[in-house]
Amino acid sequence: MNKIIIVFSILFLAISCTDDFSNVVDFTEVENPNLSEESVIGQPNSSVIWLTGLERQLSLAINNTLVLAELGSDNYVNTQTFFSQFMDELDIQITDPNIRNAGFTIQRLREMAVFGLTEVGPADPEYVATTEAEYHFFYGISLLYSAMYFSALPQEPVGIPVSSAQNYRDAIAAFDLAIGINPLPEYHLAKARANYYLGNKADAVAAAQQALALDGSFDRFATFDQANGPTNTMEAALFARGTFDDLQPLPTLDFLDPKYSFLTPLEDPPVHYLKAEEAHLILAEANISDGNIATAQDNLRDLLDVIATREVRSIDDSIEGRTENAPGSRPNNANVAVNFRGLGLVLDRQAGNVDIPAVSGTSLTEFDVDMMVAGDNAVELLYRTRQEVFIAEGIRFVDMGIKLVIDENEILQNDNISMGDPGTVPVIPPFIASVVTDLDAITYDAAAGVATTVVDVTQILVGNKESDLVLPFH
């Protein structure tokens, strides 16, 4: 009997040992649950997923540049510290992490576009031409933003800093590649904008016309995901943070604020970064600078027609008090006249919903256009309209000729850059520098219902239109 038990036991143990039991006692095995490179490159449809990643990255780049650009311009004053502690005073420092994030997200967009063009796209059996065109477009957009916001930025990891002008030129080359594959109006407009800031009037006009020829009211926008992020940071600053009242508009722009407001629990409002209005404005400005007032008037009428088609949102903005921190300090009702321009610029947010343009809005009227005559007044009117149409889109800052700086971490780790090089020093036109503290200052007599901006930046820009730093067509 004992022998039987022993034999049976040995047999049983022998059989059970044949199973792979090692993983039961292997305590060293760990598994990283995240995606490896093999899960991305070479997989069917990976190029489309990568493209969505580029869209998302652009939204992140916009998030990181818009608030800075709006605070740095005269559009908004910062009443809190949440979004930036420096830019409102145009205190541009190489150590400012917000400026670093702006540069980083723009350059990450570029690196992602390059990775898409060189690695993800070619390895994906489902890679199509329109996707490739988008990769070129996003590469161009990253260079365009580099040029718009920085006086110099590298075009490759720890590369030589490239000047703003060269970044514009290389952006144009990228947009041309995209257009060559799949001509879209926004590709042409992006090219028009680069040419505009380079002062290449003819090329800018040609590109603007090509854009409009494809679609007279196109609108390319960056989207935001309310549920998974990125959410629209500018929306948080203007609307979602409610009583914080972080960014407060210049009273002349009150009727345009907040451009972004709560949309749905899933989606945050988009930022319209390449829209037909810009093409009309470029054409109008080119015509004004050439003395073709009548054509310019036509361009502006076209502009008003497009704006009239854009969405206007009726929103409850009662939570935004305008005056939370210092009651009575800012105009907050419809009886306030600003800069002697009559009523209508300031809205009463406590008297029910307000109607706010979600894409483009302006105080420009048909009458203003009809009355327009050649000269600086026309340029001023155009620039005021640019400010209004592009509010909360980061354009006013570029129009003011201001440029951010390369981050300290780049300077220290990039052998091609030294402290003091161009690109490491902020660019602020002297006529702006001299009024920095007054950029968004106002005087306000609540009792009389009169608000006045201390300076009129549009006037200052037009007064200095000969400068290389601003008004590129003049």
């Binding site: 993800v120 990891p157 220290l412 780790q413």
Partner: protein
């Protein structure tokens, strides 16, 4: 345990009365020590029976026995006495100290314990007696002020708050300085910060240290880093806290029941506005019931401790409930095999208010940082409206935490012979926490974040975290003596494996009245996983020379799965020497021995490590859901060369005892360098890649540790002892590997920064500096001071008069700096300009003069004053009734007019670096007046 013992224990526990088997004779007597002082608590047992008792507080006992039987008297540290029962009914015993047993044995490293005198390293020890006195039920709060060389700062008065624990300065920019915690040889979750995923509470969080059960601890050993922790491997560079639970002792079964009642009062000393207290503070009560029983028979012993605790805090919001028990067991399984096991459970429920970062949601911070205006200047009507607003919000704040934790340990010891022993330990710790936050519509309306009348924007967040650790260790200890040489050899292998799984569930767009995410319009989920396995082989050789000098040589070959693929296992060596000069016979005979009774010299060198967060070595990509579509992006750049950072410590020490060791002095000099320090520098923005942790830094910590304890009075009735410690730390980032300074905490305008040549996490910001012409110059990136107080220590007093005991503990620090962020915010909001020059205030941004918001972080805090009285066996059946009174946090002296400990929001990442350089937006530790009554059976 045989069946009769079970019954015995049960009857002891239920009836709480002494059961004695029929004996025909009552024997009485008094047990004294060698000085003739009565010895309470001596176990008296009739040999071969389970009949036993303990001496009372005057050393008296009575026991039933028969002629011819033998009484055994045993007491820790005394030689066991056996005394046959003769004709007399009175047996008085004088016990003699057992020199060998009194030699403190330290569990340090692995293997069998080693006598303290053979160790070249120092260990701070809290004994059962020390622990029982302390009123706290959180381990870090207990250690605060009771260990001589640890700096422990609880960061808020809210329940279960995280702490900053440090001994020899900040050694790492990558990890928290919280030591590894080991309960009965098993590593336990020591997360002392917010988890990686987290609900937005403005920094309010519950630490894993808050739910380590403390009612059955026999001993806590605080082992500082360096050579003392080399054998622990992995992340032991910050030191190790070893908790050894009670397993009971052979002898009469004892039981106790304790009831405590406390009054918890908010500390108003630091409030800027007294009205803050009016709005938020509300004196609360704490209640606790504890029971315990322990005992043992031949070949086994056991201990059970359980506690039920509840308090409703010092404010009108916080509440906590804690239920815990620990069971410890020891058995002789065979002649050669011994077993020790312990099992503990804690259930902890608490709720939190919002802290600093959410000024709209945090009422405390809103008030104190003038987010609601200058409270002193509000009219009564305005203030009334504020009070009503606050009272409206109060019941709507809904941040809850529920934690369940079990820890189990098993240790088998096999004694091959007197010389050779094997120890095997295996155990687990499992901690699961559920944090939940509901921002209902009514809450958001009350705080003004959504318009009145909104009903469909409720938010629910739930974080589930499961932390599991398994530890196993097998080692062999060999002891040998060869003439005048002794050898202790330890050889072993150890592994631990930890898994941390976090899932966060968010629901938005909900209506009020639900806690289920199913009822929310949109639902999103996040997860996070950390998994790490660490394993190593270690050895230690302790060679004794003439039983006075000892040489230690040891090392550990250490590998963990968080290292990059290009790396090899690390070898961590240690070497130490100790010379007990006063143990020489010639010295003992010398007259000077009466004055200088102990002289011990020690020196050692050892290496210990910290590893980076698991998986940070891998290159990864991520896929994000973007408006319903998948989107790829780069994630971690990866670093195949990533290894643990290595802290190399050299230490020299001297211990002196005077007048029969009534006055003891200890001094230690340490010099620790963290090589291959783990820094996460900011990548050049042109890379377009996220920051990657790298072994590029070097950090140096040097300092002195002095401790003194003295028995000032020792008479038959009185004993007065004091202790005092003083520590210094000099910390500098020797190299940052060429990277730019990077912020590891704080804000953009004033950050806690890692920069070459500066102290780790020093404060940096723009300083306004007065010029000769009376103007101010703004100097950006100025050094505004070190966040770590370089001088610190603790003080203590213990007085016994018969059955009365009075004790006090306190701690202090000075030399560091801290930012008063509430003041900065008040100034920014133009409500407070105290001490700010007129030329600056209102004329430039406060961010240009942040130096005016930085103050000394000096403090002296008396943590506990307690008194107890033992009534003895005045009421049957109790062998003793103890009445205790303690006051926690009664007195504070600080350099500034805010509490420099309140760094509630300082730790940004899971187990990340915490400088503690910012005081902001959370309540101070409350004052607790606690009374307790303990019935001992």
């Amino acid at each position: 345990m045989d069946r009769s013992n079970y019954w015995l224990v049960l009857v002891f526990f239920i009836l709480g009365t002494t059961i004695t088997l029929a004996q025909n004779k009552t024997i009485r007597g008094t047990v004294t020590d060698q000085n003739g002082l009565p010895l309470p608590g001596v176990n008296v047992i009739v040999q071969g029976t389970s009949n036993g008792t303990q001496t009372d507080f005057d050393g008296n006992y009575t026991i039933q026995g028969n002629d011819g039987q033998t009484l055994i008297f045993s007491y820790l540290g005394q030689k066991t006495v056996t005394q046959p029962i003769g004709e007399s009914n009175v047996i008085d015993i004088q016990m003699v100290e057992d020199a060998e047993a009194l030699e403190e044995v330290i569990v340090t490293g692995q293997g069998s314990g080693i006598q303290k005198r053979k160790l070249s390293t120092t260990v701070d020890v809290l004994t059962e007696e020390d622990i029982d006195k302390l009123p706290s039920n959180q381990i870090d709060a207990m250690l605060q002020a009771s260990t001589p060389s640890a700096q422990i700062r609880l960061s808020s008065g809210q329940p279960g708050t995280a702490s900053i624990i440090r001994t020899r300065g900040p050694i790492s920019a990558a990890t928290s300085s919280t030591p590894v915690i080991i309960v009965d040889g098993v590593r336990v979750d020591n997360l002392n910060s917010s988890p990686q995923l987290g609900l937005g509470t403005g920094g309010a969080n519950v630490s894993a240290l808050a739910d380590i059960p403390v009612e059955s601890i026999e001993r806590i050993e605080y082992i500082k880093g360096g050579a003392a922790t080399t054998l622990y491997g992995a992340d032991a560079a910050n030191g190790v806290i070893q908790v050894i639970t009670k397993k009971g002792r052979e002898g009469r079964a004892t039981a106790f029941f304790e009831s405590s009642l406390g009054v918890i009062k908010g500390t108003e000393d630091y409030l800027r506005y007294k009205r803050t207290a009016e709005a938020l503070f509300s004196t609360g009560l704490s209640q606790e019931f504890k029971v315990g029983f322990s005992g043992g028979g031949k070949g086994f012993s056991y201990n059970f401790g359980g506690s039920l605790y509840k308090d409703d805090s010092f404010n009108n919001l916080n509440e906590q409930v804690k239920r815990s028990f620990t069971f410890g067991y020891k058995a002789k399984l065979s002649k050669k095999m011994d077993y020790q096991g312990s099992f503990s459970y804690t259930g902890f429920e608490s709720n939190l208010d919002f802290n600093a970062n959410f000024t709209t949601l945090s009422r405390f911070s809103g008030f104190e940082s003038a987010g609601r205006g200058n409270l002193d200047e509000l009219t009564d009507e305005e203030w009334q409206a504020e009070l009503e607003r606050s009272d409206r919000i109060n019941p709507l704040v809904d941040n809850t935490q529920t934690i369940n934790r079990i820890t189990g340990s098993n240790k088998f010891t096999y004694t091959f012979s007197n010389a050779l022993q094997a120890n095997a330990t295996i155990g687990i710790d499992y901690r699961t926490s559920v944090s939940e936050q509901i921002q209902s519509n009514s809450f958001q309306v009350a705080t003004g974040t959504i318009p009145e009348g909104t009903t469909d924007q409720a938010i629910l967040g739930r974080l589930l975290r499961n932390a599991f650790t398994v530890t196993a260790d097998l080692n062999f200890t060999h002891k040998a003596n060869l003439n005048d040489f002794s050898f202790v050899t330890i050889l072993g292998g150890q592994f631990f494996r930890s898994t941390d799984r976090q899932n966060q569930i968010n629901g938005t767009g909900g209506v009020d009245g639900t806690r289920s995410v199913n009822n929310f319009a949109t639902q999103t989920v996040l997860d996070f996983v950390l998994e790490n396995a660490n394993y190593g082989l270690y050895f230690l050789e302790n060679v004794g020379f003439f039983n006075v000098a000892f040489l230690e040589l040891g090392g550990r070959l250490d590998r963990n799965t968080s290292a990059g693929e290009n790396t090899n296992p690390l070898f961590l060596p240690k070497i130490g020497m100790v010379y007990n000069l006063s143990d020489h016979d010639f010295y003992k005979r010398n007259g000077i021995n009466d004055i200088v009774s102990t002289i011990k010299l020690r020196a050692n060198y050892g290496e210990a490590t910290n590893f980076a967060q698991p998986f940070s070595q891998d290159r990864t990509f991520s896929l994000n859901s973007f408006l319903g579509a998948p989107s790829f992006t780069f994630a971690n750049p990866g670093n195949p060369d990533l290894v643990s950072e290595r802290v190399k410590t050299t230490e020299f020490g001297l211990e002196l005892g005077f007048f029969g060791n009534r006055l003891n002095l200890s001094g230690t000099r340490y010099d620790a360098t963290t090589e291959d320090a783990l820094f996460t520098p900011i990548s050049p923005p042109s890379d377009g890649q996220l920051n990657q942790i790298q072994n590029i830094g070097e950090v140096s910590n040097k300092g002195w540790e002095f401790a003194l304890d003295a028995t000032l009075i020792q008479t038959k009735k009185h004993r007065l002892g004091i202790n005092l410690s003083y520590n210094t730390n000099e910390n500098v980032v020797v190299s940052s590997g060429g990277g730019a300074p990077f912020v590891v905490g704080g804000f953009q305008v004033i950050g806690s920064v890692v920069e070459e040549g500066q102290s780790l996490g020093y404060l940096r910001g723009t300083a306004a500096v007065l010029q000769d012409d009376g103007s101010y110059e703004f100097e950006p990136n100025s050094n505004l001071g070190d966040t770590f107080a370089p001088y610190f220590g603790s003080i203590g007093l213990n007085y016994t008069w018969g059955s009365f005991n009075l004790f006090a503990t306190g701690d202090y620090q000075f030399g560091g700096k801290i930012t008063d962020l509430s003041f900065l915010l008040r100034n920014l909001r133009e409500f407070d300009s105290e001490g700010i020059p007129e030329e600056l205030n209102g004329n430039t941004s406060p961010f240009n003069y942040v130096n005016f918001f930085v103050f000394d972080n000096d403090f002296l805090k008396i943590r506990t004053i307690g008194a107890s009285y033992d009534f003895g066996n005045v009421v049957k059946p109790f062998s003793n009734i103890r009445f205790g009174l303690t006051v926690t946090n009664p007195f504070n002296w600080t350099a500034g007019n805010f509490d420099p400990e309140n760094t509630g929001s300082g730790i940004a990442l899971q187990n990340g670096f915490a400088s503690g350089g910012f005081a902001y937006g959370t309540e101070s530790l409350p004052r607790i007046f606690l009374s307790s009554l303990r019935f001992q059976f």
